[in-house]
């Protein structure tokens, strides 16, 4: 990595006294050779790469949006080939069979009855559902059991819902090929008026003005107490000022955005009506993805799917969000936090450790005393307090974790720098008049880089664990954003009934941590064979 010179020699064909080509060797090359021999480390590296790939390209993968709430699809179990609609129907039937069993209409054998009571006692509800469902289906097919009229009605209603409920998105509304956002507010208002069938745009523009003013008023930088005492006129004056501050162009753009939102919503309403009618006639097939002309010269792209056609490979969570997408996006967040947090803490550690090691004396004493005292702190508690108090944003998380986790790296870098301080090349650089910071950052840190990299690799899983720990307590990232920790935390609350919500995120996270630890251990052993078997 740092031996460019040797490589050049190699290319020019350096030979030894026996005329053999001299193979340049470096610590990095040697370590890489050793790493490749370590099977677990290589597997770990491959797994880490797969995770990195998945999270880097998550937005290009055919996934549902991680924050798309589908209320009908709450807590659906994972399934490879059954669609959401079928699962919903199964849920409903299980429920109905169970009620009929309780009412004594679904007759089972005495053993089965006893078994069900025992399961209920142990609150193993899933087993009960499964049993009544299979038995019920059997009896229904054999004609020994029939639904009552009201039950049949419920089933038919759900069936109709499953067949007709659509999921529609409207994108890229264009007017004569121009994106609608680029038009002026009057033009957009005209389109909206046409959609609504109005003759003039005056009412629309007035309404929009009013909405904009109330939006600006809500955004004013005032406390609740101040708001309580202000009069209408005062508010009007302040709003005028705020709008003037914004500048005419920005304000107009906001007005246009507001109107575009209205147009989108109206188009969605019209399209939904149209598609629903087509669906009842059976003249449409899903998935539907076409450019359509809404009104004269207004065109838009409409994507529509039958809601019940969705497949959830890993099931859904409590608000019907796809768990697979959430795990992948959660992993993206977790891995990003691991990387950025490690970078942040390693950066602080390098700077402080290098200063302490190189300057020595009083600076060294002060920095190392701070490190000593901070080692004695229950630092996760400080992080928890900071997160609880300064708000639960990802930025605060970085800062809180970064501030407390630079200690070990600082100590390591300090030791390394102290041992390099008296080496010849540093002496040489100093005698040529290089400045302190140049010696530190150009000469000494690159020479300690291998141990820093190794340490950082081991730091990433620890960081991910700490972030997940905070998310688990509800102090990490906030919904709809997910991280592995928050997914696991959500899963724990309902693990008896919906175990997949706990199991899949746990597996995803554990596998990554395993891989990362194996890879990190392998890397450390490769760079420093003497450290083998040590912690």
């Amino acid at each position: 990595m740092f031996n460019k010179k040797k490589k050049d020699e190699n290319e020019s064909g350096a030979v030894n006294e026996f005329d053999q080509v001299v193979e340049g060797n470096s610590l990095t090359k040697d370590a890489w050779k050793r790493l490749r021999k370590n099977k677990m480390a290589v597997i770990g590296l491959v797994v880490v790469c797969i995770y990195a790939f998945l999270s880097a390209f998550a937005s290009f993968l055919p996934l549902y949006a991680y924050d798309e709430i589908v209320l009908d699809h709450q807590n659906l179990p994972p399934s490879w080939n059954t669609s959401a609609g079928d699962l919903m129907m199964q849920d409903k039937l299980e429920d109905l069979y169970f009620t009929s069993w309780k009412e004594g209409r679904l007759l089972l054998t005495d053993e089965q009855d006893a078994q069900i009571r025992e399961w209920i006692e142990e609150s193993k509800t899933t087993k009960v559902w499964d049993l009544v469902y299979t038995e019920g289906q059997k009896q229904l097919a054999a004609g020994n059991f029939a639904w009552t009229a009201s039950e049949q009605k419920k089933i038919d209603k759900l069936q109709k819902e499953i067949e007709t409920e659509l999921f529609i998105t409207v994108n890229n509304v264009k007017v004569d090929g121009v994106k609608i956002e680029k038009l002026s507010s009057d033009e957009v208002a005209q389109i909206y008026a046409d959609l609504l069938g109005l003759d003039s745009t005056t009412a629309i523009l007035e309404q929009t003005q009013k909405e904009m003013r109330s939006l600006v008023q809500n955004d004013l930088d005032l406390t609740d107490d101040q708001r309580a005492v202000l009069s209408e006129e005062d508010f009007a004056k302040r709003v005028d000022e705020a709008i003037a501050d914004m500048g005419e162009e920005t304000y107009q753009q906001k007005v246009v955005d507001n109107l575009v939102g209205k147009v989108d919503a109206q188009i969605l309403r019209n399209v939904t009506k149209e598609l629903k009618a087509q669906n009842t006639e059976g003249t449409i097939s899903f998935p539907y993805d076409e450019m359509i002309t809404v009104d004269g010269n207004v065109t838009t792209e409409v994507i529509a799917t039958l809601k019940s056609n969705r497949h959830y490979l890993l099931g859904t969570d409590y608000s019907g969000r796809d768990l697979l997408a959430r795990i992948i996006y959660g992993g993206q967040i977790s891995i990003m936090i691991g990387l950025v947090g490690t970078f942040f803490s390693v950066f602080i550690g390098i700077v402080l450790g290098a200063l302490a090691g190189y300057l020595g004396g009083r600076v060294d004493y002060i920095i190392m005393r701070i490190v000593d005292v901070m080692y004695g702190l229950p630092y996760m508690l400080i992080v928890i307090i900071t997160m609880a108090i300064f708000g639960r944003s990802i930025m605060n998380l970085f800062i809180a974790l970064g501030i407390v986790s630079w200690l070990t790296i600082a100590r390591m870098v300090r030791g390394q720098i102290m041992s390099l301080k008296n080496s010849e090349y540093v002496e040489a650089a100093r005698s040529m008049g290089a400045k302190t910071w140049r010696i530190i950052f150009k000469h000494m840190i690159p020479n300690s880089l291998s141990i820093i990299i190794v340490y950082s690799t081991l730091r990433i899983p620890a960081f991910i664990m700490q972030e997940s720990f905070l998310s688990f307590l509800g102090l990490g990232v906030q919904a709809p954003v997910a991280s592995w920790g928050s997914l696991i935390s959500n899963g724990v609350s309902s693990m008896t009934i919906y175990p997949w919500r706990l199991i899949f995120p746990s597996i995803a996270m554990t596998l990554f941590l395993f891989a990362m630890n194996f890879f990190g251990d392998g890397l450390r052993d490769a760079f420093d064979p003497q450290s083998k078997n040590q912690l």
Binding site: E122, K124, D224, D225, V373, G376, L377, P378, Y379, M380, L381, I382, I384, I385, T386, M387, A388, I389, F390, P461, M465, S468, F469, F472, L473, G474, L475, G485, I488, S489, G491, V492, M495, T496, P499, L502, S506, M509, T510, L513, F514, N517, F518, N533, Q534, L535
Partner: protein, 308 residues
């Protein structure tokens, strides 16, 4: 030795002072006070409440008052729970957490050392591989995954142990088992790895060879000579382990519904209950600092090379 102990005791004071100062000021520069409810209080009521808790005084005066109270052992009134003061809440819940933490540490130490030594003595045997496999799992799997999974398997599916609860509420001592195991797994793993590697190192060292050459019994060599040297890294790991157990217990207590101190910590962080947060942090820190003190003493006693 006495001088060393005295020096270490003195060294505890700045650490504790920093902790108190840090948490005191962090919670005070926070936006939003403990009485900012959904409904704004009338000015007069607010002023009265602030006067009652001395919140109207300058911050430095509050800090001084607080320090003085803490030294006397009074952690002040809770801002959120009106019935009792912070001392009451902490000292009714602390014993439960202490029992859980101690059981976990003892489990981790006992089995960690046992498995570590066995793995070192029978290197590359099945017990070595088993120990290392459990160790990797213990280090990679966070305790908030271990806890619910153990709960799911051993309590809910197999029904061997109670799902949650605590023995003080009359649910039997079996309630301790699962939380203690979940809490100790990570520390068991690290202790086993440490013991194994340092035992391997020690067994190769000169003084063990000398002992062997003198014809000593193998068991005496291991128990009397090797163990003492091999325990040094384990002892120095105990400090971080105590800190980890303290923070880890917050999650474990939540999962297993243990009526411990962790619940107060998380809740009071959300409630901005200043005195309770700082109280919990101080109690935790005192425990940690005392534990670290003992760890240092034990280390000094074990290692004859340390000069005090």
């Amino acid at each position: 030795m006495a001088k060393y102990i005295f020096k270490r005791l003195l060294g505890m004071i700045p650490t504790l002072l920093i902790i108190i100062t840090l948490s005191f000021f962090i919670v005070r520069i926070a936006p939003g006070g403990p009485f900012d409810g959904e409904r704004a209080l009338p000015e007069a009521v607010k002023a009265n409440i602030e006067a009652k808790y001395h919140l109207d005084e300058p911050v430095l005066q509050q800090y001084g008052r607080y320090l003085f109270d803490v030294v006397r052992g009074d952690l002040g009134p809770s801002y959120k729970y009106k019935d009792n003061d912070v001392n009451y809440y902490i000292f009714t819940s602390l014993p439960n957490s202490a029992v859980l933490g101690s059981v976990a540490i003892v489990l981790a130490l006992f089995f960690g050392i046992l498995f570590g030594v066995m793995a070192a003595l029978y290197q590359n045997s099945w017990i070595d591989y088993l120990t290392m496999a459990i160790a990797v799992i213990g280090i990679s799997v966070p305790n908030f995954v271990v806890a619910p999974v153990l709960q799911l398997v051993f309590a809910m599916n197999l029904g061997w142990l109670p799902t949650s609860g605590w023995y003080t509420t009359g649910e039997g001592y079996a309630t301790i088992v699962l939380p203690a195991i979940s809490l100790s797994l990570a520390y068991f793993a690290t202790i086993a790895r440490l013991t194994r590697s340092s035992m391997l190192d020690t067994l190769r060292s000169d003084y063990i060879r000398t002992a062997k050459a003198k014809g000593m019994k193998n068991s005496t060599i291991i128990m009397k000579h090797a163990m003492k040297g091999a325990m040094l890294p384990v002892v120095s790991y105990l400090g971080p382990a105590f800190a980890g157990v303290i923070t880890g217990s917050i999650v474990i207590e939540q999962v297993f519904r243990v009526p411990g101190i962790g619940k107060f910590f998380v809740q009071s962080s959300f409630n901005r209950d200043y005195t309770l947060i700082v109280g919990v942090v101080i109690v935790f820190s005192v425990i940690l600092v005392i534990m670290n003190f003992f760890v240092d003493i034990v280390y000094a006693l074990l290692d004859p090379r340390i000069a005090y």
